[in-house]
Amino acid sequence: MRNILMLIVFLTIISFFMYVAINPGDFNSQTGEHFVFGSPKFTDMDNYFIHNAQNQTGANNVVTSIVFDYRGFDTLGEASVLFTAVLGVGLALRLLRGDKK
């Protein structure tokens, strides 16, 4: 019973994803193109990074310039995720020898 229900749920979600993937998408009357899955409607932020990253940050690797400069705060967050994980492992896998009863 549970398995059948889960199968129905799974198929529902998958069918939505499949619909989006093969959907012809919105029609842009100006360019005569369809926006299908995988062809973005906008590319201006990508182009900004490609054209300005080298000049602004002085890094040849644009990916690193995004990771550590434009979105450096996210990287700090990800680094603290690792820090949190380490602390959590240390906390959960500690032995209760030093704890009071």
Binding site: F16, F17, Y19, V20, N23, G25, D26, F35, F37, G38, P40, K41, F42, T43, D44, M45, D46, Y48, F49, N52, D69, Y70, R71, G72, F73, D74, L76, G77, E78, S80, V81, F83, T84, A85, L87, G88, G90, L91, A92, R94, L95, L96, R97, G98, D99, K100
Partner: protein
């Protein structure tokens, strides 16, 4: 530039950076001794609280605050050469963000004071306090950020640190199991959110919430947006513990130490903030807010009813309170859901906004009285050593202050005047009644059952013959409980203090997505 100007300019960044720095330094400082580390942790938490208060003041005085990480100057959201798009990570602090940041830092400070005594003598406290600070960082970051990916990062910090803290009392592996369940559920949720963010980023080439909302409004709400919205809304509903995705709540809250239960409860309110932010600001302009609002209302009704009826069954004090958090979350979803369902119609100004104010006021009240109740539960467990209500009795003979604090919290959560719970519940009943009387009837029944189950706890834990010869809990725990009780009584008798400075700005900020978007996209300073 004086220090004061410097702090005011950089307040949104400092509100995250200071507790983060504090967390990184705590394991190092703990080597100098517990007392030094405690002074450090408490002063960091105090400074964070000050920054959150400052943010509330700044938002109420000068409107929405924008802070650009790495920008030159830090208020320039859109670089002039970018063609009108935000490039960097932007913190956008409006009334609702400042409100959530304030309750997060407050519960952090209270939990910090409480754990001075309650965790004394346990191992790995350097990690415990660092994780406590990181949990505050996670909550504050989720509240303050205006960037979707940044939101995900802080959601991850929030979930991981909360899961780790749940496992602090190993408790024969039970706490670790609860932490594992919490970690699995929240990791799957976080991955779903990441997936949704990837969809939105692929479609709109932006990660800023305002920019995505603007572009979604321009190009219309597509099928992909719908999937992204469903992923985000359902995941955040799970993270805030709405029925039928609440199963991790009793496990997690039940096994965590008392002050950590209170903090995780507020961490799930931060997810609730994320849910409201997404529903109103990101999808509010394009999606069908009427059906979205009814979705939240139905989740809220289920949470209220199932939460409270399951709570009555429990005989473990922490699990009982955990189920009550589920049912209290239902009130918030109900209040704000009514606001969302009526958004854009004439009914919004008649009662929708008032319902939202009620729901948001309930978040604040829930933080106060639910936090207090979790702290009293922690105090009982600290002295008695068991969380089983069947083994308790007669504690009011010796733990008088704990009993009084418990009574204040229980009466407040049951909505007995003159405590603060009554005010927000009244606001929710009165406004929800006008959308559909059935909603208000369910809410009132749930309130009655809440009172019944807290009387059960009071009777079995505090009344009856003296079974345990225990002392009152140490002072720091009493101080922490006293702070929360003071605000419960204060906001019960003068609800307009909270209404004016916190709740009304928050509700208006949520109801005005256009203001949010134009503040970020419509020119720099």
């Amino acid at each position: 530039m004086s220090v004061w100007d410097f702090i005011i300019t950089n307040a949104p960044a400092l509100a995250i950076a200071v507790p983060l720095l504090g967390a990184f330094l705590t394991p190092l400082i703990y080597r100098a001794g517990r007392k030094t580390a405690l002074i450090w942790v408490l002063s960091v938490l105090g400074f964070t609280e000050f920054l959150a208060l400052l943010l509330v003041y700044l938002v109420n005085t000068y409107g929405i605050q924008v802070y650009v990480f790495g920008g030159n100057p830090s208020t320039l959201a859109i670089p002039p050469d970018s063609g009108g798009i935000p490039i960097r990570i932007i913190f956008t602090v409006d009334g609702m963000s400042a409100f959530t940041a304030l309750i997060s830092s407050t519960i952090g400070l209270v939990a910090g004071i409480y754990s001075v005594a309650s965790e004394k003598g346990r191992g790995a406290q350097d990690k415990f306090f660092a994780l406590l600070l990181l949990l505050v960082v996670g909550m504050m970051g989720m509240a303050l950020t205006g960037d979707l990916f940044n939101f995900f990062v802080f959601l991850e910090i929030n979930s991981l640190s909360a899961a780790a803290l749940v496992s602090y009392r190993i408790h024969g592996g039970k706490a670790v199991e609860a932490a594992f369940k919490y970690a699995v559920v929240s990791s799957i949720g976080a991955l779903m959110i990441l997936f949704a963010i990837a969809i939105l980023y692929g479609e709109y080439d932006a990660l800023n919430m305002a920019m995505i909302a603007e572009r979604m409004y321009q190009t219309g709400f597509s099928a992909m947006d719908m999937i992204a919205m469903a992923l985000i809304v359902v995941t955040l509903a799970m993270k805030c513990g709405a029925v039928p995705m609440h199963y991790w709540v009793p496990d997690g809250y039940g096994e965590a130490p008392g002050e950590i239960s209170a903090m995780i409860m507020v961490a799930s309110q931060a997810s609730l903030y994320g849910l409201f932010r997404m529903c109103f600001t990101v999808f509010g302009l394009s999606a069908n807010t009427h059906s979205l609002g009814w979705f939240l209302i139905i989740l809220g009704l289920l949470s209220m009813f199932i939460g409270v009826t399951m709570a009555f069954l429990q005989h473990d004090i922490k699990r009982l309170m955990a189920y009550h958090s589920v049912s209290q979350t239902g009130y918030m979803l109900l209040g704000v859901g009514v606001g969302l369902a009526t958004l854009g119609t004439s009914a919004f100004n008649q009662y929708g906004l008032f319902a939202m104010e009620g729901g948001i006021f309930h978040i604040l009240n829930n933080m106060l009285y639910k936090g207090l109740l979790f702290l009293t539960a922690g105090a009982i467990i600290y002295r008695v050593g068991t969380s089983d209500l069947n083994k308790m009795g007669g504690l009011a003979h010796t733990m008088k202050f704990t009993a009084i604090f418990y009574l204040i919290g229980a009466l407040a959560i049951a909505g007995i005047p003159p405590f603060n719970g009554f005010v927000s519940k009244l606001m929710i009943y009165e406004s929800v009644y006008q959308l559909n009387p059935f909603l208000a009837v369910v809410a009132a029944i749930v309130s009655m059952l809440t009172l019944a189950s807290f009387l059960k706890v009071f009777h079995s834990a505090f009344m009856g013959p003296k079974l345990y010869n225990v002392k009152e809990v140490p002072k720091s725990m009493l101080i922490a409980m006293g702070i929360l009780s003071f605000f419960i009584v204060l906001f019960g008798i003068f609800p307009n203090i909270a209404m004016t400075y916190l709740v009304a700005p928050a509700a208006h900020a949520l109801a005005d997505p256009v203001g949010y978007i134009t503040r970020v996209l419509g020119g720099g300073a």
